[in-house]
Symmetry: C2
Subunit: 329 residues, 2 copies
């Protein structure tokens, strides 16, 4: 494999298989509390799956930089726990009914228990991270968590109104790219590389995260419910304008703008249908515009790896941005 390009998700998965299994075990062991409700909620969330993209990035980052210790399994579980904790609290805030195709935890256990289970998962993530006895690890994780929490609050303040592309970029940085960046940087911290190398790995995660979220937001607008496994256009239903929508808002006709603003305000498709919105986006080539930006970020991610020594792990990292922009769900 070492002289060819990685071409499939399976090859990457094979490369990380044992470590990802170890991370699942670590997460499972970590998420056990003496309080039954916490263990139940944690297990439910953990078993709900998810792509484990953040631990995979951390593993690839650490391994591509020559690290081979046990810290990457612990910290892989940590970034997934932080991610899970944010999902629990976000579902409460969005009053979400489903998550990953199943009832969301708050519909089963109620908001109160989920507030506390989320708190506990944050603390447990920090507790496991603390075992590394590395202040830089904690600096990164705590700074990250604050960025994410602030981002969710900023998001709330934009609901129902148009946002600028600049605001959108800040929101998706906080929502997604920030944790991708930190996952990559943690790999560098474990591998004890210099600051410049860590910054490049962070740049990769940052750009990849932006590409990932832009594509996620496009799929929410354009995919079918069967493919996506969740209700489509949920962002518009929550009053969130994402990149393609912002493009049509800024470049469409006054009538286009009016129609979009109606949906953002109504937070439903009663006066303007989802189909009408898709027609507006199509007429303004707004989905192409957003996809192009995602491609540019993906390219920027790959470029950030220029000085990384060649390895299977580097090839996997080079492949991930393509996968992220080409996926259909």
């Amino acid at each position: 494999m070492s002289t060819t390009t990685i071409a499939t998700a399976k090859e990457v998965f094979d490369l990380l298989h044992d470590d990802l299994r170890a991370i699942e075990r670590e997460f499972g062991d970590d998420a056990v509390s003496s309080v039954k409700a916490i263990t139940e909620i944690s297990d439910y969330l953990r078993e709900g799956g998810g792509k484990r993209i953040r631990p995979s990035l951390l593993l690839l980052s650490a391994k591509s930089q020559g690290y081979s210790g046990g810290g990457m399994v612990r910290l892989g579980a940590v970034v997934e726990m932080v991610h899970t904790a944010t999902l629990v609290h976000d579902d409460i805030i969005d009053a979400a009914d489903t998550r990953r195709g199943r009832p969301s935890a708050n519909t089963t256990w109620g908001n109160s228990k989920c507030v506390l289970a989320g708190d506990w998962l944050y603390m447990q993530a920090f507790r496991v991270a603390l075992e590394e006895r590395n202040f830089r690890v904690l600096d990164l994780l705590i700074g990250l968590t604050q960025q994410m929490v602030e981002g969710e609050l900023l998001q709330m303040e934009t609901l129902g109104r148009p946002v600028t592309e600049r605001e959108y970029n800040d929101l998706i940085y906080r929502k997604t790219a920030c944790l991708f960046e930190v996952s990559m940087r943690l790999g560098s911290v474990l591998a004890k590389v210099n600051g410049k190398t860590e910054a490049s790995m962070g740049e990769y995660g940052h750009a990849l995260g932006l590409a990932f979220q832009i594509v996620d937001d496009i799929l929410d607008l354009t995919a079918s419910e069967e493919v996506l496994g969740k209700p489509v256009a949920s962002d518009l239903r929550e009053g969130k304008a994402t990149l393609a929508v912002i493009h049509s808002l800024e470049n469409g006709t006054p009538t286009d703008r009016e129609a979009i603003l109606t949906v953002l305000t109504d937070q439903n498709f009663e006066r303007v249908t989802h189909k009408e919105i898709l027609a507006i986006l199509s007429r303004n080539q707004s989905v192409d515009y957003a996809m192009n930006i995602a491609f540019r970020h993906a390219e920027r991610a790959r470029a950030a790896l220029a000085s990384l020594p060649d390895s299977d792990f580097k090839r996997a990292l080079l492949w991930v941005p393509d996968f992220v922009v080409a996926r259909d769900k």
Copy 2:
């Protein structure tokens, strides 16, 4: 003052005046976010006051053990931030309308923003604590926070049913005594004393915290609304059995027990009045029983200071347990 016993709150306050002001400034500076809602909620909570008993304990602990650096101001703000974060999330869970005589934050900003503001305050507390670059400080704080969060969940599971004295002790340890203990231990960590001395200081905080919460719970049952500044018997209205109530449950007549169970189930005083409950407690001498246990904990707290060198700060620490058990609000 050095040869006499400290006798008033004012003397203790004078002793800590400058440091407590510095802690208020630190808390004020720390609780500023680039996100307006967070700063607003933090300011609201900070300005709501509170007794600042946790930072005071930390200061007295550090100073009585010879510490004089800036860490105690930072960590004093940290323990108050952790305390504030737990209050924000607890008020959401209890659906509380008031806190410290004012509307609770969730009634003003809504639950969603308060979930996130609480998260942010926890992270900010850890971020400031991290500046100490001391792993023991972080171990104590993160272990503490998990104990408190688990305690709140355990509390939820007991609502509306009788609990044993053992369960009650565990709940009040997690709710109050644990943070008192950690505040005292943090003073020891700053002063770099040996493990045995730290354990004694922790024992003081632990015992004091139990005494504090037992008295708090008694006042909730027996004080008048004017004196307390909040609705009386709120614990029973929430279905919480506290120490005096537990004593009557276990030692009263079957009729007494029936009446108490009715209130715990109904979570109101419609079928059995507050006055009838007070008569039951009085007939069984249950308030005396609970007060006696509080006195014993207060005595145990004082005894834990036996080997601490004499100083104004030690005298203040010796005075605090008396104050805690003698207060009427």
